[in-house]
Amino acid sequence: MKRLAVVLAAAFFSLPAPAQDAKKEIEKYQRMINDSSPAELFELEGESLWKKPQGPRNVSLERCDLGMGPGVLKGAYAHLPRYFQDTDRVMDLETRLLHCMMSLQGRSREEATRRVFGNEDKPSEMELLSAYIAGESRGVPMQPGTKHPKEIAAYELGRKLFFFRTGPWDFSCASCHGEEGKRIRMQDLPVLSEPASARPVVATWPAYRVSNSQFKTMQWRINDCYRQMRMPEPNFASELTNAVNLFLTTTGQGEPYRGPGTKR
């Protein structure tokens, strides 16, 4: 593993520093990394990818309708997840991008989802596109769909999933994200079922993670939570993941989107 995080960790072990000082240093580091970030590089590359002709039809994604009309990007991310009439379902950004890859570019689901999560050497298409499109919602208040019956149903489903304990470790999302003032190791845990705690989270995802130089999306975050909850793997862009995402985004709605975040 790398650099600044490793140096900070080394400092904690060489002196028996109390956890309070450690927290202060981490907060200082978080302020520093939010000031200009490699996330911008992903946004730039995402823009090129958005405009790149691909697939059997050899067209770009520029006519993709993310909810505000074909090709309209300003504010589109801030209004997701939402119900889409043409597919008759609630969709988040990545789910909608997959739909456009298939319907506009003629790509198969199998091919378009072969590598949805990348690594530090090669980000995935979803990561690059998410960075770019999210960036186009900077300053726009987060307002996912809340009125359509399918949006309401998805929200309710997401809420139930949030509190549903199962698996070999008896975890639900609420096991970690259900109580104020708790942390796992040194990572503070926002209470994602409470608007005040959820809002800053919703305003800063997707995000660049400094510790492994990777850009992370919401589909990845939900996937990785379930992995750590000792569950099997959720299907990418499934109804389940979209319900969880809609619940989280709705709970944390209202805050102006800050652009792709930068995290530990």
Partner: protein
């Protein structure tokens, strides 16, 4: 050859804040690839900043710095329109130089 740096400048009353995002893998030489082989060390060793042709900052960077590093520093006596040049040299002898005008 190398990707251009992204430079942002903010002129203030007492100094100009400069923020530069560099594109570089910054390999420590400790990481292993999927085959278990060590990825060779590859990092920015030196950087320099010139204001209107005169060197105002020189830095020695180590492999402990993150991939695609961001540096920020404060310049005194800079004003809008001044020529700013940031350059780096890495351990393989590769160079990069980006010029911009102070905003």
């Amino acid at each position: 050859m190398a990707d251009p740096m992204k430079i942002r400048t903010t002129v203030g009353a007492e100094y100009t804040e400069v923020r530069v995002l560099m594109v570089h893998p910054m390999e420590t030489g400790q990481r292993k690839d999927s085959g278990g082989n060590l990825i060779p060390i590859h990092f920015i060793q030196e950087m320099s900043v010139k204001l209107n042709g005169k060197t105002v900052l020189e830095g020695q960077i180590s492999q402990a710095v993150s991939r695609n590093p961001v540096f920020s520093f404060r310049l005194k006596g800079a004003k809008s329109g001044d020529k700013l040049e940031i350059a780096w040299l890495d351990n393989r002898g590769e160079r990069n130089r980006t010029e911009t005008a102070i905003a």
